[in-house]
Amino acid sequence: MSKEQVFDLTTHTVRDLNQALHGLNGATSGPDFKVLNAQGDHALAVGIDAPVKVEIDGHVGYYCAGMNKHANVTIHGNAGTGLAENIMSGVVRLKGNASQAAAATGRGGLVIIEGDASARCGISMKGVDIVVQGSVGHMSAFMAQRGRLVVCGNAGAALGDSLYEAEIYVRGTVADLGADCEAKEMTPEHLAALDELLKRAEMPYPASEFRRYGSARKLYHFNIDNADAY
């Protein structure tokens, strides 16, 4: 491993950081990056495409670690809107709370939020695994298509509204379920897979404490009884 690269955002710009990261795009290895004094700046560590490790100290603004591929990004603070938006692969770990639409449209990889996530966490997710140690706000996993949203705390109103095929696991309470989202049976296969995911996310809870929710599949399949309506 080559020497750690340090970007202090009181002296470096966000562009300095992101250009250094993009310079490695397509590489199979790279140095570790340390980002100091993030003060809510937007678009930090966006668009990485290399298996590098990035540690960010401070709170981050919008779209931190968006479109991440292969990289392992850890944020020691809170995150603004759209953390790890459209993540493709790799791991994004947030030590604090996330604002709205965390991991929105994520296609792969793992997003771990050690605090709470606010509204619309995992909106339109398409394959990402999201593990939230705290609670999630309203309309989380809205129109989620694939992947898993795991909530170790409670879920806000309209969880999984207009859900396609994503899986949702909640350990605490659910304020209410959105349209076409229903409780599902927890099979041994789901338990084993969830257990593995919780271990990977370093969450201290057994899979048996979670309930599973999924799509009732009534909204997106045409129902022949409705044929007269057309």
Binding site: Q39, G40, D41, H42, H59, G61, Y62, N78, G80, T81, N97, S99, Q100, S118, A119, G137, H138
Partner: protein, 305 residues
């Protein structure tokens, strides 16, 4: 888009630094709203029976002495006035109803920006840095301040259409979002006696709160009613003579971050505006919940008046 910032000091020892703490918050929101900028500051209250008015005329050599003389002649009182860029701060001992009657009696060659015992509002078209410098925001002392950087969507980019909006006495409101039922509400409020100065949807929200508080509601009660009556997208920050409040609509698309320490409460559209506040590292930091009223102070019924 628009940016909102607010700072409410709990520790009076910080009052001399209000402008110094608040200005960087406002400037940090430049990208969210480069069209116009405005701020309300609560400070230096007029004595009982007296009022502070902030008036505006775009002409930098406008004859404010003439306005002061007309007020002196009308009310037979000493009128103190001080030009501040395009604005003029006027102080005089007069009953609010009499003053409003005089203002409404005929067209006046200026715009009324704010009226109250505590409030002063300064707002102009232009970048936050230019507006802050024009009115020496950095040097202002006071108990709380609310600011707005505007990216206009619903109405024209004019001084009158910029925020904060203040329609009654000492109450002001800044808004990020857009109201969908403002026309209907405007007609209702007009029937209740409200007089509108702009076509702006946010002015309707300010008038709405004002009318509620005139009818005896506390700030918190008025905001609870607003949740039922206002439709659309909003994050509001509201100031009264002794209060500071934040309200988001039930969907809460428009961003908001709150931070609180023993010394202050701060609100902003984004965390980066709070990042330089003293003690923010150890502040309680959270996103206000949708459809939830947050109020500090402001428990006097009709405290805006």
């Amino acid at each position: 888009m628009c940016g909102i910032v607010g700072l409410y000091l709990k520790n009076p020892a910080l009052e001399s630094q209000l402008g110094e703490l608040f200005e960087p918050m406002l400037l940090e929101m430049t990208q969210r709203g480069p069209d116009s900028t405005g701020f309300a500051v609560y400070r230096d209250p007029a004595p009982a029976g007296a009022l502070k008015l902030v008036l505006q005329n775009p002409d930098l050599s406008f004859d404010w002495a003439h306005v002061a003389a007309a007020l002196t002649e009308q009310f037979k009182v000493d009128v103190d006035f001080r030009r501040d860029h395009t604005h003029c701060l006027v102080r005089l001992p007069v009953a609010e109803a009499d003053l409003r009657a005089w203002l409404a009696a005929e067209p006046r060659p200026f715009t009324v920006v704010s009226i109250g015992q505590h409030i002063e509002i300064y707002k102009e078209v232009g970048l936050p840095i230019d507006v802050a410098n024009a009115f020496n925001l950095k040097g202002l002392r006071g108990s709380h301040a609310i600011g707005h950087t505007r990216m206009a969507t619903e109405s024209a980019v004019t001084t009158a259409g910029s925020h904060p909006f203040s329609t009654g006495s000492d109450l002001c409101l800044v808004h990020n979002g857009s109201l969908s039922n403002h026309n209907r509400l405007r007609r209702k409020l007009e029937k209740a006696g409200a007089v509108f100065r702009t076509e702006n949807d946010s002015e309707v929200a300010a008038q709405y709160l004002d009318v509620q508080m005139q009818q005896g509601a506390t700030l918190s009660q008025a905001l609870t009613r607003a949740l039922g009556d206002l439709d659309g997208f909003y994050t509001f920050t509201i100031g009264t003579s002794d209060g500071f409040a934040v309200l988001r609509d039930p969907i809460a698309c428009k961003p908001a971050v709150l931070a609180e320490t023993d010394d202050w409460v701060a609100m902003s559209s984004e965390y980066r505006a709070l990042a330089r506040l003293p003690g923010v590292k150890h502040a309680k930091l959270w996103e206000p919940e949708p459809a939830t009223v947050y109020v500090w102070g402001g428990e006097r019924a009709g405290a805006g008046h």
